[in-house]
């Protein structure tokens, strides 16, 4: 199942069609436009495919940022412990309490809706869960004899963290990241739905938002981007599950 879904996700990435406005306005799915066209005559299929790029950029960008921050702060908190750990943990808790979506709506509404901004914001608000996971990993790993051995060998703390602890502990974070990617796409969709997204880019969320007004007469304009989003989110969830099972065989049924 795991591999099946990777196969499904991959073709989304490959064919990039240019998008251009054609004369057929709002036509239903037909030969020339398999997914139909939107109110400006743009081919839905092409736009759906282009939308993938944005989706992936958003997903990977924000999850990547979140993972980097999370791994870094989580490792420090876990390894050094003490006051630093307490402070960082409180910080994590604080962030977890904040309703991040509303925060993002606020920020975007105030500061503009550039897509890179959105990625940044998502990344900066979703790192706490990664940090928590990483910290837990570090706490258990730092007692392992090979860490002691590295210390005795004279390896400095920096290298211990980067060569020993993080490579061994990052797997749950990676699994979590795929789930975060799925989440990021949904958030982006939500923001777009509220009209807060950059109107110049082609994203599924944008497409849905734009097609709202025409839902009754042109169902395809909403349907296909919606399905695309659904499949992507589902696929990412499956991958996330798959990764957790691979690295934690006890979860295997």
């Amino acid at each position: 199942m795991f591999i099946l879904f990777i196969a499904i996700v991959a073709p989304f990435i490959s064919p990039y069609d240019p998008y251009y406005m054609s004369e057929d306005l709002l036509s239903p799915p037909n030969f020339r436009h398999p997914f139909g066209t939107d109110q400006y005559g743009r081919d839905i299929l092409s736009r759906a495919i282009w939308g993938t790029r944005i989706a992936i950029i958003v997903a990977v960008g924000s999850a990547g940022l979140s993972a980097l921050i999370g791994i870094f702060l989580g490792s420090i908190a876990g390894y050094y412990g003490g006051l630093l750990d307490d402070l960082l943990t409180r910080l994590i808790d604080f962030f977890l309490i904040i309703p991040t979506f509303f925060l993002m709506v606020l920020i975007v509404a105030l500061f503009g809706s550039n897509i890179s901004f959105v990625i940044l914001i998502i990344g900066l608000t979703s790192w706490p869960s990664n940090a928590r996971i990483m910290r837990a990993q570090v706490l258990s790993l730092k007692e392992r004899p090979y860490i002691d051995a590295a210390k005795v060998a004279g390896v400095n703390t920096f290298r211990i963290l980067f060569s020993h602890i993080i490579p061994n502990g990052a797997y749950p974070v990676i699994a979590n990241s795929t789930l975060q990617m799925a989440n990021a796409i949904l958030i982006e969709g939500g923001l777009a739905f509220l009209g807060l997204e950059d109107p110049h880019i082609v994203s599924w969320g944008n497409m849905i938002q734009a097609a709202r007004a025409y839902l009754v007469i042109a169902w395809w304009a909403i349907f296909f981007p919606g399905v695309a989003m659904l499949i992507m989110v589902f696929a990412l969830n499956m991958i996330g599950n798959g990764i957790s099972v691979v690295f934690n065989p006890s979860l295997r049924r």
Binding site: A149, V152, G154, V155
Partner: protein, 329 residues
Amino acid sequence: MTDEKILEVYDLKKWFPVKSSFLSSIILRKKSFLRAVDGISFDIKRGEIMALAGESGCGKTTTGRLLVLLDEPTDGKILFNGIDISSLKGKQLKYFRKRIQMIFQDPYESLNPRFTILNAVTEPLKAHKIGSKDEWIEMAYKMLAYAGLTPPEKFFNRYPHELSGGERQRVAIARAMIIRPEFIVADEPVSMLDISVRAGILNLMKKLNKELGIAYLFITHDLAVARYMSHKIAIMYLGKILEIGPTEKVISNPKHPYTKLLLSAIPRPGLKRRRRVTMTEVPSPINLPEGCRFHPRCPYVLNVCKQREPPLSEVEKGYKVACHLISSN
């Protein structure tokens, strides 16, 4: 073995705070401590192997960790080549990390599972910036061969899980040796290995001692292994050394009642079991008995044993015992 002392330990202590319940800390007004190491003193000469033996919980592993500076002592001094290393940090600490190394008990956990053997063995060289990249490979080659892993190149790109326990321990030894330390703490290095493999590792360590003059602190609960390996032996119980002296003398003619108990408990093939001494167990190191720590289990207990702790006193040259009964003779 010379007469020069490479390691001297004076009144070394390591106490761990124990979380007591809120009420008891209010009522008793004192924190309770787990006195893992409670004032031990000994020295090791250059090229000497000293065994530190005792049952689990006696503090021997903690002692080992203190000597390699993985933990900081609560009190007491550690002198290495005459220099106080008890509380070193930073560059100075790193300097001594070149000279003092450790071999761990668990061959399965002392190697990073994601490092190749080559990476694992050369890591200390990288950490101390010794030699160039090409030299690293050559040094790893020589060290693995010396440790009995031949042909060495075959091991370079393997991972720990592909090796057997004995092979892993040889890698650990090679790793510890590659920077030519003067002193190694070996913490139960063979207790997790199969019997037929142990002899090989023990003999390798003896070879390193004979040929390269490396001094050891050999931590073990197995007195037979201690006898085979060491020139000198110290018996540890609940954080204190009860008897310390030349190995053959201590083993063949133990003076302290605890040592006698330990030795009598070892199975003797060929002889059928005789009735042994005591059915009691080791008390908790948090609530230590008053006076001599061993007195509740001692068949020769005197009144003074319940009140005062016996000091470690010399009964012969180089042979000390902590027992009221012995020192009074």
